[in-house]
């Protein structure tokens, strides 16, 4: 390794420190993560202090020479009586350990309670169902006409306690948005939940954190924390059905998508395509990524993905259809209108 390359490697590592809160456990973007970071600092401080003390005593013990007669005292097991200072020291040590453990237990209890209390103030309920390998997101509302289904992108209003109910359709997954909260597993046949109170507007990245099969690495989630007004605007927009195709090419794509293989798995509101096997595509083009964070949204990536998903994400449940070029142009043209 040349010196320049080594310097570059070190510089890259240092750059990691500059990472913004896009995907970072040390961000401050939600109440949960904030509490957790305080807890982390307390644990780190207490454990580090004890560690330093233990190592200091160990070094002192190694450096100090054994006095004549010490061996005998050790063997009789009356070590603590050998010196009044030793006795005081041992009592102090025991007290220190007890106090330290009580401090950790208290901090842990208070932290845990404060995180759990947010659930009592729930103002928005979202159901996330994990599938191999994408996230099905449903916004619940007592008014059924306001219930919204989307995929692989989670929009949250800032400052509102959101309860996320977690299900799985196949295997165990884990919901993890490091910038907002800790991990919570999604277990088939069981309901889990997690409450998040985001405090900072921004875009964050979530990732499945429990190995779930071939494409576990390509099971990401974009979380967009908006102002409350923007969030409501987004919700209203997402409730609209898909716009009708306006060009002949888009119409050809519409016909293909709603009549052929695509419609067997995907739902597009306002069209005959209404299956629930794959991600909802009603406002597909308004999302930031394709295939659960596999590719950034864009015309080129869309062509690549639609033509041959099995090359982009081998093993994904979306099959390679082998679209003819004219069909491919039409399908992409139609998908692009789904803003």
């Amino acid at each position: 390794m040349t010196a320049a390359r080594r310097a570059a490697a070190i510089a890259t590592t240092l750059l990691l420190g500059a990472c913004q809160s896009y995907q970072s456990t040390f961000s401050d973007a939600a109440v949960e993560v904030h509490n957790f970071n305080i807890l982390f600092v307390i644990f780190l401080a207490v454990c580090a202090a004890m560690y330093v003390l233990v190592i200091a005593f160990l070094i002192a013990g190694i450096v100090r020479r054994r006095r004549a007669g010490d061996a005998l005292v050790m063997e009789t097991g009356r070590h603590h009586e050998s010196h009044p200072l030793m006795r005081t020291g041992l009592i102090a040590w025991g007290t220190l350990v007890t106090v330290g453990l009580i401090a950790l237990a208290l901090a842990s209890f208070v932290g845990d309670r404060s995180m759990a209390s947010a659930a009592a103030h729930e103002r928005l309920s979202i159901t996330i169902t994990a599938n191999q390998w994408w996230w099905d997101v449903q916004y619940n509302s007592s008014d059924v006409s306001k219930t919204l289904r989307t995929a692989n992108e989670l929009h949250l209003p800032v400052g509102v306690p959101v309860r996320i109910i977690l299900h799985s359709n196949d295997v165990v997954h884990s919901f993890w948005v490091p910038s907002l909260a800790g991990k919570q597993d999604l277990i088939p046949g069981r309901e889990n939940d997690i409450t998040i109170v985001p405090t900072k507007i921004g875009i964050y990245r979530g990732q499945c954190a429990e190995y779930c099969g071939t494409q576990h690495a390509h099971m990401a989630l974009v979380v967009d924390v908006d102002s409350q007004a923007d969030f409501l605007k987004w919700w209203q927009h997402q409730l609209q059905p898909a716009p009708p195709p306006r060009t002949p090419l888009a119409l050809a794509g519409y016909n293909y998508v709603t009549n052929r293989e695509c419609a067997m798995c995907h739902n597009i509101a306002g069209t005959p395509a209404s299956a629930r096997v794959g991600p909802d595509l009603t406002h597909f083009a308004s999302r930031r990524t394709i295939a659960a964070g596999t590719l950034p949204m864009g015309k080129g990536n869309l062509y690549g993905w639609v033509e041959d998903p099995q090359s982009v994400k081998p093993g994904t449940k979306m099959p390679t259809i082998g679209l003819q070029p004219n069909d491919l142009h039409a399908v992409v043209a139609y998908l692009e209108t789904l803003k």
Binding site: M264, C265, V277, P314, P319, I321, G322
Partner: protein, 184 residues
């Protein structure tokens, strides 16, 4: 080291190497272009009434029959595409049962695939153009596994449904009926 010990060491090593040749888990993420070149609406004729001699088995059969990933994918599709709606989990209902050894339209994997692709009278819809050839063959592999034809190591021992018959791996394989064998 005795020579006998050395020989058994070598034998174990060779046996371990031979394990790598097992292709139970061989995955095909994409159908061979062959599947897509059959023009729509034109199906290889796989039904042979009377004493007609059926053509040799489709070359694609080797890729799907007895292949664990194909059977597992087929099992997933079987539920997602609502085969359950008519055939139940193999026991039949509105549609005929699939877990017995009677095949109205042939029990060979290519015949089952043709049945799925083209549909059959009295309710079985045609899936050509709705599913890819790859998916149709995966489904055929799973449907064939319901009657206990594939080998035990290829079939999932954990069915997706909550309850039902014993897993295929625990039931004895039924020999094909004489009439079916004669057909083939």
């Amino acid at each position: 080291m005795s020579s006998r010990f050395r020989v058994s060491c070598i034998a174990i090593g060779v046996a371990a190497l031979a394990l790598t040749a097992c292709d139970r888990e061989e995955r095909h993420n994409r159908a061979k272009p062959l599947g897509e070149t059959v023009p729509a609406g034109e199906s290889p004729d796989t039904i042979y009434p009377g004493s007609g001699v059926p053509p040799p088995l489709d070359a694609r059969a080797a890729m799907y029959d007895n292949n664990a990933p194909a059977i597992a994918q087929g099992q997933w599709l079987y539920t997602q595409m609502n085969c359950v709606g008519c055939h139940s989990h193999g026991g039949g209902g509105m549609g005929p049962p699939l877990m017995d050894d009677e095949w109205r339209y042939g029990g060979r994997i290519d015949q089952i695939a043709a049945t799925i692709a083209e549909g059959r009278p009295n309710g079985m819809p045609a899936w050509r153009g709705k599913l890819t050839q790859d998916q149709i063959w995966q489904l055929a592999a799973y449907v064939r596994s319901l009657s206990g034809q594939p080998s035990k190591d290829a079939v999932s021992s954990r069915p997706d449904e909550m309850s039902g018959p014993e897993p295929e791996t625990l039931t004895a394989r039924e020999p094909q009926k004489q009439s079916d064998a004669a057909e083939q």
